[in-house]
C-alpha cells in the first residue's frame, strides 16, 4: 500500500533556498485535502509562500512543528488514503529520506552517520528531573556537551530542537538555555511576560520574525566584517525634475519618480565604473557585466531589497514599472526568492521622510550601497549673484576590502554627472 502514502516535504522556493519553516498550518492531522488546497504557509528568511496539496488524501503523521527550520526536502507531514494503517504510516516515516540532494543535505546525512557511531553509554543517566516534566524523546545521539544534555533534561527540551553553536556542531548549555527561554516566552501570553518586567514597566515581548532575524544577522555580519567608508556628494537635480515632468506628461498611469531616475543613473554609473559593480564573499570578488540594482523597500515588519536585473539595459519606463511591481508584491509577501537575490549594488532612498542624508549598511555580498536623501531648495552662487537650485545628498558606503576611496569617488563622480545631465539616461 506504500504507493498510496506520499511525503509532503519542505519545498524549494528559490534556487538558493536551503531551509524554511512552517509559519502556519492550515490543516490538522486527519484533514481531507484536494489538489490545490492550501496546506500551510512556508516562511524562509526572505519570503512567505503558500504550500498547496498536489494530490488528494488525508493528512497523516504528525505535522512538522511551526516555527522550526527544516532543510529543503525535509518531511512536513504525510498524505495518505484512509485505508493506510498507522503502522504503514509509521514505517513510511521511519524509512523516509530527505528528497533533495543538494549540498546541505549531504552534510546532514554525514552528520547522521556520525551520530550512528555515537554509542549510548550503559551508565548514561541524567540527574533527576526536578520539574517533573515528561522526559523528552530520545535525543542521545544529538551531539551535545554533558552539561547541555543535563540542562536539556531538566528543562524538558529535546536537543534535536536546539540550534547548536558549539565546536563541531555540538549543542552547548548556553544553546539549551536560549532554547528554554525562547520556549518559555513563546508559551507565555504577552500580558504575562509584560508583567514580569523587572522595573515594573509594562512592555510587550515580540519574538523576532524570520525576516527580522535575517536582517539582524546579515547586517551585523556586514558591519563587523566589512570596513565601511562613506563618500558624500551633492547633485543638482533641477534638470532631472524637468526631465521627469516631461516624461510624465501625457502618461495615463504610473508616473515616473525621481528615485526611478536615480536607480537608472546608478546603473549607468556602474557601467562606467565596473569596479563597484561586484559581489564579494570574503575571499573572491565577482565582477559583473550587467548592473543588478537592488532597491530597498520598507515594510511594516522589516525591509526587502528586490533586484532590478540588468538595470543598465532597461529604459527608465521599464525600471519604473518594475520597481512599482516589485514593491507591490513585496508588501503582499509574494516575492520569489530569486527576485531578492543576485544584486550587485543597492539604492536606498529615505528622501520621502525628509531625511537630508544618511549612512547605509552594505548588503552582502554586495560591496557598496547608495543612500539617497531628500531634495532641498538652496540658494547657490551664480554669475548674477545667487539662484535657487534643487539639491540632493547621496552617500555611498563602500566595503574597503574591495573598493578603494578613489574607485568609490569615481563612481560618485559619474553618478553626479549623470544626475545633473539626465537626458543621457534616455540614450
Amino acid at each position: 500500500m506504500a504507493g498510496k502514502i506520499q511525503a509532503i516535504v519542505m519545498p524549494k522556493l528559490g534556487l538558493s533556498m536551503t531551509e524554511g519553516m512552517v509559519a502556519k498550518w492550515h490543516v490538522e492531522e486527519g484533514a481531507k485535502v484536494a489538489p490545490g488546497d492550501m496546506i500551510a504557509e512556508i516562511e524562509t528568511s526572505k519570503i512567505t509562500n503558500e504550500l498547496q496539496a498536489h494530490g488528494a488524501g488525508v493528512i497523516r503523521g504528525s505535522l512538522a512543528e511551526e516555527g522550526v527550520d527544516l532543510p529543503v526536502g525535509g518531511l512536513l507531514c504525510v498524505l495518505a488514503d484512509e485505508a493506510s494503517s498507522e503502522g504503514e504510516i509509521e514505517a513510511f516515516i521511519a524509512a523516509f529520506k530527505p528528497l533533495d540532494s543538494d549540498r546541505i543535505e549531504v552534510a546532514e546525512a554525514e552528520e547522521a552517520s556520525d551520530d550512528a557511531r555515537r554509542p549510548q553509554r550503559k551508565d548514561d543517566k541524567a540527574r533527576p528531573n526536578p520539574s517533573g516534566q515528561q522526559p523528552p524523546p530520545d535525543d542521545s545521539r544529538i551531539p551535545a556537551t554533558p552539561s547541555a544534555r543535563r540542562a536539556a533534561a531538566r528543562a524538558g527540551i529535546n536537543l534535536a530542537e536546539v540550534t547548536p553553536t558549539g565546536t563541531r556542531g555540538r549543542v552547548t548549555r548556553e544553546d539549551v538555555e536560549k532554547a528554554a527561554a525562547a520556549a518559555q516566552s513563546a508559551a507565555a501570553p504577552p500580558a504575562q511576560s509584560a508583567a514580569t518586567a523587572l522595573s515594573g514597566e509594562a512592555y510587550e515581548e515580540v519574538p523576532l520574525t524570520s525576516m527580522r532575524q535575517t536582517i539582524a544577522k546579515r547586517l551585523t555580519a556586514s558591519k563587523q566584517a566589512a570596513p565601511h567608508f562613506r563618500l558624500v556628494a551633492e547633485a543638482n537635480v533641477d534638470r532631472m525634475l524637468d526631465l521627469r515632468s516631461d516624461l510624465d506628461r501625457g502618461m495615463e498611469d504610473g508616473k515616473i519618480s525621481i528615485n526611478d531616475l536615480l536607480v537608472k543613473a546608478a546603473a549607468a554609473a556602474l557601467m562606467q565604473v565596473p569596479a563597484v559593480n561586484i559581489q564579494f564573499d570574503g575571499s573572491a570578488m565577482r565582477r559583473y557585466a550587467a548592473a543588478h540594482v537592488a532597491v530597498a523597500v520598507a515594510l511594516e515588519e522589516g525591509l526587502l531589497t528586490p533586484v532590478i536585473r540588468n538595470a543598465n539595459h532597461k529604459s527608465v519606463m521599464e525600471i519604473s514599472s518594475e520597481i512599482k511591481e516589485l514593491s507591490r508584491r513585496a508588501k503582499l509577501g509574494s516575492l520569489q526568492l530569486d527576485e531578492l537575490e543576485g544584486g550587485t549594488f543597492t539604492v536606498s532612498n529615505l528622501g520621502m521622510f525628509g531625511i537630508k542624508a544618511f549612512d547605509a549598511i552594505i548588503n552582502p555580498p554586495q560591496a557598496a550601497i547608495l543612500a539617497v536623501g531628500a531634495t532641498e531648495q538652496r540658494l547657490i552662487p551664480s554669475a548674477g549673484g545667487k539662484r535657487a537650485a534643487t539639491i540632493i545628498t547621496a552617500t555611498l558606503s563602500c566595503d574597503h576590502r574591495v573598493v578603494d576611496g578613489a574607485t568609490g569617488a569615481r563612481f560618485m563622480q559619474a553618478f553626479k554627472a549623470l544626475v545633473e545631465h539626465p537626458y543621457q539616461l534616455l540614450i
Binding site: R117, R118, R121, R127, T145, P146, T167, R170, T172
Partner: protein, 335 residues
C-alpha cells in the same frame, strides 16, 4: 555486551579495524613474537600481550615485528601513513619516544602542514604510560603533556575498557596522527564492552560522575581514582562532577568551562609532570575563560616536579592517590 579487560578491548578494536580496512596494519617490537626466535610465533603479542592472536588472522605482512629501533619503525610507519596506509605502531613505553622524537615531532606532526594539506598522516602510535610498577624513571613516565605541546598531534588517553575500544577505533579512522596512551596499570581492568564496533569522538569529554559542588578534571587511570574519591565524598554529601577528558588534543574546553561555571570550584588531577603540563593548562583555561565563576583557587593534584623514584615507598607517594585527591577537594571546598 560482555565484560572484557582493557587489553581485550584494545585487541578487539585493532581486530575490527583491520577487518574493516585492509590499509590498517600493525608494526612494532615483539608485537607478533617475542620469545627469542626458536620458531615459535605469536607467543606474546607484544610486551603486554595486547596484540596476541592478530598474527594468526592477518599474517606477518600486517602484523610486522621490527628490529629494536624506534627511530626506524616509527619513521617507516609515518612514511606508510603519508602514502595512504593506516599504520598502528606500538611504541611499547612512551618513554621511548625519546629515541624517535624527530619522527614524531618534526615529521609526523608537521607533514600535513608543510605539504600544504596535500598529504595526511593517519598514524596511530600506541604506547604504555604511567607509574606504579616500580619500573623506575625510564619506564614509568606519563608524557601526554609533552605530546600535547606539539601542534599537529592528537593525544588520547582512555580511562576504562569501554573507552579504550571506542577511542582507539576513532583514532585509527582519524586522518591525523594520534598518540594513544594506555596506562600499564589498567590492562587487566574489566568493564562492559559492546561486541559491535563503535567509535567515540575525540575532543568530547564525558562526565563520569555528576555533582554540583566541585569539578574534577582528569584523564586515563586518574579518572578512576577521581571516581573513587567522588563516591567516598558522596557519603559526606559532597557532589563532585568528574570530567573524563578522553583527549588532551583536541581538548573539550566547552565541557570544562560549562561545569566550572556551574560549580565554581576546580580540581585538576594528573599523573604527568606538573610544570607546563596538563594540569597547569586546564588551570590556565579556567583562569582565562571561567574566572568570574571561580569561588576558590584552582587546585592541582599532581606528582612533584621531579623524576619518578624507583623506591616503592617513594613511588607510592609520588603518584596522586585517592586520599590526596579527596584532600585536594576538601581544601578547595573550604577555601
Amino acid at each position: 555486551m560482555s565484560e572484557k579487560s582493557f587489553r581485550q578491548a584494545i585487541n578487539e578494536a585493532l581486530r575490527e579495524e583491520m577487518r574493516r580496512d585492509p590499509d590498517v596494519f600493525l608494526i612494532g617490537e615483539d608485537i607478533a613474537g617475542g620469545t627469542g626466535g626458536d620458531g615459535e610465533e605469536d607467543a606474546w603479542g607484544g610486551v603486554m600481550g595486547v596484540t596476541k592472536g592478530l598474527l594468526g588472522e592477518f599474517g606477518a605482512s600486517r602484523v610486522i615485528d621490527t628490529p629494536i629501533s624506534e627511530t626506524a619503525y616509527i619513521g617507516a610507519a609515518a612514511g606508510a601513513a603519508v602514502t595512504g596506509m593506516r599504520p598502528v605502531a606500538e611504541l611499547m613505553f612512551c618513554d621511548f619516544a625519546g629515541v624517535c622524537f624527530d619522527q614524531i615531532m618534526n615529521q609526523t606532526a608537521k607533514l600535513r602542514y608543510m605539504l600544504g594539506g596535500q598529504a595526511k598522516v593517519p598514524l596511530v602510535i600506541r604506547m604504555q604510560c604511567g607509574g606504579g610498577f616500580n619500573a623506575a624513571a625510564q619506564h614509568s613516565q606519563t608524557l601526554h603533556g609533552l605530546f600535547t605541546h606539539i601542534p599537529g598531534l592528537k593525544v588520547v588517553m582512555p580511562s576504562n575498557p569501554y573507552e579504550a575500544k571506542g577511542l582507539l577505533i576513532e583514532s585509527i579512522r582519524d586522518d591525523d596522527p594520534v598518540m594513544f596512551m594506555e596506562h600499564k596499570f589498567m590492562y587487566d581492568d574489566k568493564g562492559e564492552v559492546p561486541d559491535e564496533s563503535y567509535a567515540i569522538p575525540l575532543g568530547e569529554a564525558y562526565y563520569s560522575r555528576d555533582g554540583e559542588d566541585i569539578t574534577i578534571c582528569a584523564l586515563g587511570r586518574m579518572v578512576n581514582l577521581c571516581n573513587q574519591a567522588a563516591d567516598d565524598l558522596a557519603q559526606e554529601n559532597i557532589g563532585c562532577t568528574v570530567i573524563d577528558l578522553r583527549s588532551t588534543s583536541p581538548l573539550d574546553e566547552e565541557s570544562i568551562c560549562e561545569s566550572v561555571e556551574e560549580t565554581g570550584r576546580l580540581v585538576v588531577v594528573d599523573e604527568g609532570y606538573p610544570r607546563c603540563g596538563f594540569a597547569a593548562d586546564i588551570a590556565a583555561l579556567a583562569a582565562v575563560r571561567a574566572q568570574p565563576a571561580l569561588r576558590a583557587p584552582v587546585k592541582l593534584v599532581t606528582p612533584p616536579h621531579t623524576t619518578i623514584p624507583f623506591a616503592p615507598t617513594l613511588e607510592e607517594l609520588y603518584i596522586p592517590s585517592v586520599d590526596r585527591i579527596k584532600q585536594g577537594i576538601k581544601e578547595t571546598l573550604a577555601a
